[in-house]
Symmetry: C2
Subunit: 577 residues, 2 copies
């Protein structure tokens, strides 16, 4: 453990002792802690498969060649790869705690992720960032942070916090903070909004990276965005878009997540001409996708299956992200690098047989080795489990005599349609009532509108996952059941609730900030799939995800209509209707 009272001399001495042992082992004068015998390993520097023993000491790879170890693992005929790095993820999207996330991705060879705690920061502000830092300390998947750049996403949002550059500034000193996360407010950057640009300036003053988010930006606007200091983009869904950004110096994060799947369109980047500037990321990955598809390994497998050179695919999955984020001792199998690696059978079948983290076998092909949950300040634990400040609701809170706009769902898309106005619920015509309930500060702000295309015939569905402010969204065939579902979400300190006939028919408790569960991923996934099934039986259109669809209904930056805590907004004109 780190000694917080240690002097600089003490620190140097401590590191020296470790380094001296590394040199002893590397030079062959002392036995290694672990040796992978007869390895074929991907050499990311010479772009080939090399052969030899891999010696490990003090959690680092110390030598390649011929070594003896206290423990020896023969890997003849197998291929050893560096551990994978997810260059951009919101850990909250897994709906589980970081510990449970780590357990889920270790079997997929992930040993490092770079997270943007943007969701929890919208709920808990800087306490949310600190909570995630503590909840990830010492995990066997290294979690590095990019600080949220856009909380709230827009001034229309009523989130739990407003973060300017000063609010996040002290976090740059944390050894696991790499920079400023996706600068989604690209109009603010291009338009020269000082409050947006000073966030970039501050990140640069700390010599940190700034990630981008600017779908389809071109020409001089793109120049302005890049010149401002935004170094990467993960929003490219078309090749031309990606090449325009890459040519201007941005690194491209190729994304395959639950909502967006860009690998196929961007496959031509995975060639010698462009691959050096590319990484992989998932951005958002829901429980069922993590369980069914995997993680970064899924991108690597798909890329190889599509004909990409396996060594290029592997480098994009680890080495390039490490260099981009200045994580200089990972993403390669070489002396001095972290002993983060996996053993696979072959590039063709790509079965991950073993995963090592800092030289420790964390996944043996069957199970993940147990590890302790990080300690979190009791204050923060209490704070994270007490983020709902909403007085009890009744059906009358959702009554409204005025006509309100009707948001039309487009199955398979995140955009919505403008479906005119309605005055009351009419399930037969597929007109449901939808409401967004401000839940951070008990303001009793409740935005009301109507929803078409959801399909519910009776009951109500409520969720506290609603991007980006994570207020409560509820949709229902009756105001009473809407109130009941929303009250139950508050009672649970967050999550998803399906009500029918005045009773809770299904629920998923997400009591960490209302967006994550303390339960294991498998269990959360089962609850979620069960709740979805109940929602479908209540009539919800099977072509949509009953909860994810709702969670985007309050994000006032995506066309056409959205519902905020203050009413329905026309995103194009930015006017309430």
């Amino acid at each position: 453990m780190r000694n917080y009272n240690e002097s600089y001399t003490g620190k140097i001495n401590r590191k020296l002792a470790k380094k001296l042992r590394i040199v002893e082992v590397a030079a062959g004068r002392e036995q290694a802690d672990l040796v992978l015998k007869n390895a074929s390993y991907v050499n990311v520097f010479s772009n080939q498969i090399c052969q030899g023993d891999i010696a490990v000491a003090e959690g680092l790879i110390v030598g390649l060649g011929r070594y003896a170890g206290k423990e020896e693992v023969d890997v003849t005929g197998k291929i050893v790869l560096p551990g994978f790095i997810d260059a951009h993820i919101h850990l909250e999207s897994s709906l589980v705690s970081p510990k449970e996330f780590a357990k889920a991705v270790l079997p997929h060879g992930t040993t490092t992720v770079v997270t943007d705690p943007h969701e929890i920061a919208n709920v808990m502000g800087t306490d949310g960032i600190e909570y995630m830092l503590q909840a990830t300390e010492g995990l066997p998947v290294d979690v590095r942070f990019m600080l949220p750049s856009c909380v709230p996403s827009t001034p229309m949002d009523e989130s739990g916090a407003v973060l300017d550059y000063r609010s996040i500034d002290s976090f740059y000193d944390h050894p696991r903070v790499q920079g400023l996360a996706e600068m989604m407010n690209y109009p603010g950057v291009i338009g020269g909004d000082p409050q947006v640009i000073e966030k970039i300036v501050a990140a640069q003053a700390h010599h940190k990276k700034i990630d981008g988010h600017a779908p389809g930006l071109v020409g001089n606007d793109l120049n302005a965005y890049v010149a401002a200091g935004v170094y990467s983009d993960h929003e490219c869904s078309e090749l031309d878009d990606a090449i325009a950004k890459l040519e201007r110096g941005q690194f491209i994060m190729i994304r395959e997540g639950t909502a967006a799947r860009n690998l196929k369109a961007l496959l031509p980047l995975l060639t010698p001409q462009y691959a050096e500037r590319c990484m992989f990321c998932c951005d958002d990955k829901h429980p069922s996708d993590l369980l069914n598809e995997g993680h970064i390994d899924d991108l690597v497998k798909r890329a190889i299956a599509a004909g990409v050179d396996p060594i290029i695919a592997v480098k994009v999955a680890c080495h390039h992200a490490a260099r981009y984020y200045l994580l200089n001792n990972r993403g390669a199998i070489a002396p001095g690098y972290l002993a983060d690696f996996m053993v696979i059978d072959s590039f063709e079948s790509f079965s991950i047989e073993k995963v090592f983290k800092r030289g420790e076998l964390m996944y043996d092909g069957r199970a993940v080795k147990d590890f302790p949950a990080p300690e979190i300040d009791p204050y923060l634990v209490k704070r994270a489990h007490d983020t709902f400040h909403v007085a009890s609701l009744t059906g009358s809170d959702f009554m409204d005599s005025r006509p309100r706009g009707v948001i039309g769902i487009v199955p398979g898309e995140i955009v919505t349609k403008d479906c005119g106005y309605a005055k009351e619920i009419d399930p037969a015509a597929d007109i449901l009532k939808i409401a967004v309930i401000e839940r951070h500060k008990n303001t009793r702000h409740i935005g009301i509108g109507y929803l078409k295309g959801y399909g519910l015939k009776s009951g109500a569905v409520a969720t506290s996952i609603s991007h980006d402010s994570h207020n409560i969204i509820v949709v229902g065939a009756s105001e009473e059941e809407m109130a009941q579902a929303a009250n139950r979400v508050v009672e649970n300190h967050g999550g998803i609730v399906v009500c029918q006939k005045g009773a809770v028919a299904a629920e998923v408790v997400l009591s960490i900030a209302g967006i994550m569960s303390d339960a294991p991923l498998q269990q959360v996934n089962e609850q979620l799939e069960h709740a979805k099934e109940i929602a479908f039986t209540l009539g919800v259109n099977r072509k949509i995800d009953p909860f994810m669809t709702l969670s985007f209904m309050s994000l006032p930056v995506i066309p056409t209509l959205r519902l905020t805590t203050r009413g329905i907004i026309d995103v194009g004109s930015q006017q309430y209707i």
Copy 2:
């Protein structure tokens, strides 16, 4: 200028104002300071030649495409390249001040160099490092520093200072210090010498780079050296050596300097398989070579002439060094990057027509634009010009009744031969007397020996350039003239003196720490060439460099015999003979 009293808020505001203007220009709302119209430029990201205008504001490239500028330069038909970076140089080897060095290399497209002030540090210790930092502040060639790791080179050396990790530690906070310079004491690293390894540990604690220097190291010893934390090497003279290091993760600096020329042997590295891990450097470059050959441009030209893809050659000459040293805003033509670039006619003839530094035309094809000399603390100026502490010498100081070893010169090589013993000077038999005079602390230590193969028939030659401690080396056909030449070096506060018939026949004054001149490069070169010619007329073998040959005679790490201030040493056995 930087305002040293500025608060953090003040700093952010200042940078914000500049950034807002950059965004205005990039977005096309405001005129650029400079536009290169119709440029064909090397795109280091997409590995091709791109077309478009290059817009500059606030010293940065802000946009690529179509722009209008207050000043416009049409470069139709020309090629624009990023400014070159020398990844490893000892500026002192140019024998001139940093300002004069900058004037000499700007016409060659060099806009950044990474220097190891190892020579001056051996004379002046940390004051030497500080002198060089001040002497390079604000120059139109950016000078970044690696801190000397091996002062003195060995305990046998009597240098002006002994630098341990604590001595250099505070320099890591300087914004132009990138790390720890070439770790020449590789036996100390591999052997686990704590005082050597703690220097590496301290550099890592500051998140800095550590350069290497380990010719021919292989196998587990190389593993130990790399695992200890040494990230690069510039001593590869054979391809196998370079590939072994590259495969273990070291970056390879391909060197063409005055003493060592490695490009030809390492050309196979300049291919897509390896080039990403390579840079160019010159290490040491004497005045005549700078004037006759050029600088990094010479490597680029030679590489292209040898068939290397010009885009690879250019990337190795700029972009790769920038990434290695984390100089993230240089080495490319893209928004946000420094406007450091050159205009050439074509890759074939490679004539450099214009060189811009931070958007300012510094070389127009004919002359270098004048710029002010950096201000240096008067204390340091005085200290640098007063580094000789030697009482006046007479012929009797060089008299010796004992037999002494004879060092045999091998023309064209840096190694020497053991030529037995001698008791007195015998010019007819080419036996001259050689002495090393401790000159830092007036210890009156004078090592005496004999030299064969130099060829001097009469007179004496003295120089205060003597690696690495820069004591005075003098060789002569008479003890009286040896004393006279050495005294004249002291009188001049350093340099080279050729005496004949009791008079000074030629001299080069190097009064900055006894190793650099305040005069322009051209003038120093003329003096030097004149002095060489005089030395030749006195009989010095024309197959050797009269002064450079002497300057290595006291470096007790290169076989076979060397002369220190305490006598002749057999390098192999490390015993005085």
